[in-house]
């Protein structure tokens, strides 16, 4: 699966949040989107996830213009996307494991997702707290719980906003290894963030830089 942005523009009233952004990420590629706070990384990821519709341009997945889909079909498209937003949006009454299973519930659940979620909890050192409500977890643990939710479903596209926020060095290495594993599985992985520790650990296909809504492709 290949996800691509073609001259995407996003306006918020008179303000131009994103201007003429084009990027792509094919299956088995890992792409990094860097930029300072307020540059529009989160906005771009939300457009790619079908949460917002661009004012101009389009987002395509395998040539299908998902940004032009009706609301119902954009909801269905998100079933194929593992999304880690900047604000984690976890269900605080549920445990980390339960949060990981929520995306699959409308289709009756998936035992493979349950197995993978348990493995991820172990690898990300959340197993001891995996059954506690997430509101009792620390900020770093909640970040990792949200990451488990994004990765457990075996999604074709991964859109991850600041996946290493609040994480120490060893855990950044863990997360980088997991992302590499997803890339090797054949997912198209787009990571947005300004953590330099992550950039050095990932086998990137491309590195983009976003500044004031404009994108540029950096040399590898």
């Amino acid at each position: 699966m290949k996800i691509a942005c073609e001259a995407v523009q996003v306006m918020a009233g008179e303000a131009e949040l994103i201007r003429g952004v084009s990027l792509s990420c094919a299956a088995g590629e890992l792409v990094l989107l860097q930029g300072p706070s307020g540059s529009g990384k989160s906005t771009l990821l939300s457009v790619m996830a079908g949460l917002r519709r661009p004012t101009a341009g389009q987002v395509t997945v395998d040539g299908m213009p998902v940004s032009r889909f009706t609301a119902h079909h954009r909801d269905l498209y998100r079933r194929r996307v593992g999304f880690l937003p900047q604000r984690l949006h976890l269900f605080e009454d549920l445990s980390a494991l339960e949060n990981a299973l929520v995306p699959t519930l409308p289709r009756g659940g998936d035992p493979e997702v349950l197995l993978k979620a348990r493995e991820l909890l172990v690898r990300l050192e959340l197993a001891p707290v995996g059954d506690r409500p997430v509101r009792t977890l620390s900020g770093g643990e909640q970040q990792r719980a949200a990451l488990v939710r994004a990765l457990a479903g075996g999604f074709e596209v991964l859109l991850l906003d600041e996946p290493t926020a609040h994480q120490d060095e060893p855990r950044v290495a863990l997360i980088a290894a997991l992302l590499e594993a997803e890339r090797a599985r054949g997912a198209a992985v787009v990571v947005a963030g300004h953590d330099p520790r992550l950039a050095t650990r990932l086998g990137l296909a491309r590195r983009y830089s976003l500044s004031a809504g404009c994108i540029s492709l950096e040399a590898k």
């Binding site: 917002r52 009454d93 409308p106």
Partner: protein, 362 residues
């Protein structure tokens, strides 16, 4: 379903209040309608066991005794299978009783069979009955009808025919009315005019269908009134369910989170629907079960007293259970359907919000 049940468990107060509201509406509504349905079915059985037509003589003053020879006249009408002159009547007083004269009981025996509501000292005890002219007539209670017959035989006293005539001041050769059995029930309506013509004096002829229809009109009217009175409660319940299903301010954020994860509008609406219906359905089922037990296990209960005009709760009226399932289904529908819609509409309204707006809401 499991997720919805988990959320129900995580919000015990909200779910409990919703269940209590549903139970409070279901129990009295179901009890009332069940009683009326059971009375209707019981009446059907009793009417079906009775005569096809009842002929009573009427004059300017109302009811008048009918001559026993009229039975012979009526029996000669084609389509009439049998005619019996009946001696029965009501003895007024502090505790009115209905006296039936049974020709099978020997007059000299002075034995009586009494219903469960007649005050006696039990089998073998004497019973004093006050005739219409004020005289006291003593009989001996030979047996008591079981309490389950209270619906139709509560105040019955079955005595020899001679004693019944003494009590009711009916001379020999006269009867209260004629019980007619027809050859084919389809011809009952046609027999009405034939009988009136044959007797030659004013009579009132009541068919089985009319008797049945009278009971049904009564129960239908009371059932309709019961539902009308329950309507405000049902509307209030719908408001409660709607409020619960809309979930408050946190519900918008939750719906946004679910849509973020690929849930569609219908998935989110279905979750809210199930979440409201699980406690409502359980409470409704409990209410229906309790009402069934109250009506058929404890003789009608308060609903029977209210609807049937008893001054006190009748002890253990045995009622027919046919049609109870349909009546319960009606109540379930009347209670649960508004709950379904009250849960669905706000859930749909919430679910159709755009997740980007929901997630960015304060």
């Amino acid at each position: 379903m499991a997720f919805a049940c988990r959320r129900v468990v995580l919000r015990p107060v909200r779910s409990g209040l919703l269940a209590l509201a549903v139970l409070t509406v279901t129990l009295p509504l179901a009890s009332g309608l069940l009683v009326l349905n059971a009375v209707e079915q019981t009446a059907d059985r009793v009417v079906a066991a009775g005569p096809s037509l009842v002929v009573s003589r009427i004059d300017a003053g109302g009811w008048a005794p009918i001559s026993a020879e009229s039975a012979a006249v009526v029996s000669r009408i084609p389509g009439v299978a049998a005619v019996r002159a009946r001696v029965w009547g009501i003895l007024p007083g502090h505790e009115p009783v209905t006296v039936i004269g049974d020709p099978a009981l020997p007059d000299a025996s002075r034995l009586a069979v009494v219903g469960p509501g007649v005050g006696t000292g039990g089998e073998g005890s004497p019973l004093a009955l006050t005739a219409l002219d004020g005289r006291a007539v003593w009989v001996e209670v030979s047996s008591l009808l079981p309490s389950s017959t209270a619906a139709v035989a509560r105040d019955l006293v079955i005595v020899p025919e001679g004693i019944a005539r003494t009590l009711l001041l009916l001379p020999e050769g006269r009867a209260t009315d004629l019980a007619v059995t027809s050859v084919r029930s389809e011809e009952d309506e046609a027999l009405v005019t034939e009988i009136a013509r044959a007797l030659g004096y004013p009579v009132r002829v009541t068919t089985r269908a009319q008797m049945r229809g009278a009971f049904r009109s009564l129960t239908a009217q009371r059932g309709g009134l019961w539902l009308l009175f329950a309507l405000p409660a049902i509307l209030g319940l719908a408001l409660v369910v709607g409020q619960v299903a809309s979930g408050g301010p946190a519900a918008r954020l939750e719906a946004g989170k679910l849509k973020l994860l690929g849930w569609t509008t219908w998935d989110v609406a279905r979750l809210h629907l199930v979440e409201a219906l699980v406690p409502a359905g359980l409470a409704s089922a409990l209410g229906l079960a309790l009402s069934y037990t109250g009506v058929f296990g404890f003789g009608g209960g308060p609903a029977a007293a209210l609807l049937l005009g008893f001054e006190r709760i009748a002890p253990g009226i045995g009622l027919a259970t046919e049609g109870a399932v349909l009546a319960l289904a009606q109540v379930g529908a009347v209670v649960l359907l508004p709950c379904v819609l009250a849960a669905l509409l706000p859930a749909a309204r919430l679910a159709r919000e755009d997740p980007a707006d929901l997630l960015e809401a304060p």
